[in-house]
Symmetry: C2
């Protein structure tokens, strides 16, 4: 009798509703977001194996649903999917790391150029609020801080209204998390909140050239934290249970 360790029909009918805001959400979405967040917050490190059975158990869904989520994550570059060998958290090479930051420079410069002087009051307010949240989370130095630092850049991209641009920036940001986990210092990942403030100021002033320069410097600083350091391996089981409950 093979693989009899599957759980009962999965009592997760209460996992519906209460989603962010837009449109109905499939169950695969829930799993996708959970794993994505776990990777971004560096709870799941590069090369961590992601067995379908285990994940399905933790999230209360079947392997089919997990597969759909893993497929999406693979398309996004966060997960590697080798035929017949299952999924692992991606382990970007040093070369890929350079590639990521290369494109980030180009696209994030486009973002601030589009935004300079064109920031709505509402947009500026959202940015201010976000930076305030970053400041608040700074002391704790936990995964929250890592995520917020990246989300500042995603928020900027979203404010351009260009959905494709924000999707790409979002992907690049999450890959940056992986890169920092692999090659960066242990947890110096806070993105220099002061620099974020400077960028907002320059955007409000409408100083296009200045904000492009600031963003370049800021990214240089981020890249500067790309040093050699091995990543420890932890047990997936404990980690996932924290993310299964959204």
């Amino acid at each position: 009798m093979p693989r009899t360790k599957r759980k009962a029909p999965a009592a997760s009918q209460a996992a519906n509703d209460a989603n962010g805001s837009a449109g109905p959400v499939s169950r695969a979405d829930t799993v996708y977001r959970g794993i994505r967040r776990a990777i971004i917050e560096q709870a799941l490190g590069p090369s961590t194996k992601l067995p379908e059975d285990l994940i399905g158990e933790r999230f209360g869904v079947s392997r089919t649903v997990v597969r759909a989520a893993l497929t999406r994550l693979a398309a996004e570059g966060l997960v590697e999917l080798r035929l017949n060998k299952g999924a692992t958290v991606a382990r970007p090479s040093l070369e890929e790391a350079h590639d990521v930051f290369d494109i980030r420079r180009s696209l994030e410069r486009l973002v601030v150029a589009r935004l300079a002087g064109r920031l709505t009051p509402g947009g500026a307010a959202r940015l201010d609020a976000h930076v305030a949240a970053e400041e608040k989370a700074k002391g704790k130095d936990g995964p929250e801080s890592i995520r917020l630092a990246g989300e500042f850049h995603v928020l900027l991209a979203e404010l351009t209204g260009n959905v494709i641009l924000s999707r790409y920036v979002g992907e690049l940001i999450s890959r940056s998390s992986l890169i920092l986990a692999l090659y960066g210092r242990p947890h110096s990942s806070d993105c220099a909140v002061a620099e974020h403030r400077e960028i907002i100021d320059a955007l409000v002033r409408g100083d296009t050239a200045g904000v492009e320069r600031l963003m370049d410097h800021h990214l240089d600083a981020v890249i500067g934290r790309a040093l050699i350091a091995p990543a420890p391996d932890r047990d997936i089981r404990d980690i996932l249970s924290a993310y299964a409950a959204e």
Copy 2:
């Protein structure tokens, strides 16, 4: 007796091997590539419904495999996936169209900047060969021509060696196919082969500023063919059979 029209166990065990070059290929890959090509060559127009059963029948695979392919295509933006309502070929809004070309400008400028003066002899040869193929296919004015025009840009991106960059450019190019199908003139989609030649020349000369200007002009010309025109609807069945056999 619901849905009894499914075919026999599907005798497609010979669908393995003989793939392009790199790594083993899942069956979902085959379906993915087939549908993708059909969309890029404008055989499947925007909003065309993509029923899982029908596609699976044509490709000789089950719905599970089709779903995986559709999930990937959706992540890429070529397909829209609405919950409980199935998949359709994406129909980019005019706004999205502008977004696509906006990012194309930025990324393709990065491509040629990276390439200027750094083109290997092999790379230049591949570009020359490609343009020759474009020239040859130009008379026929068929789907081949559409695909080749886009692949020139993808080839440029690939020559940078930045795999993420080439993935993004590839996605943007295929979306451009959709945009041209929607808003462009019927079939004036050949990308001005002469302009491609000029770009190659400038790259070989190492004329960075010149090639950026040329690429901008070239993209302007492409964007210039974005006019209002409705797209006719055709029957998926006939179309897919041509693409099922690779």
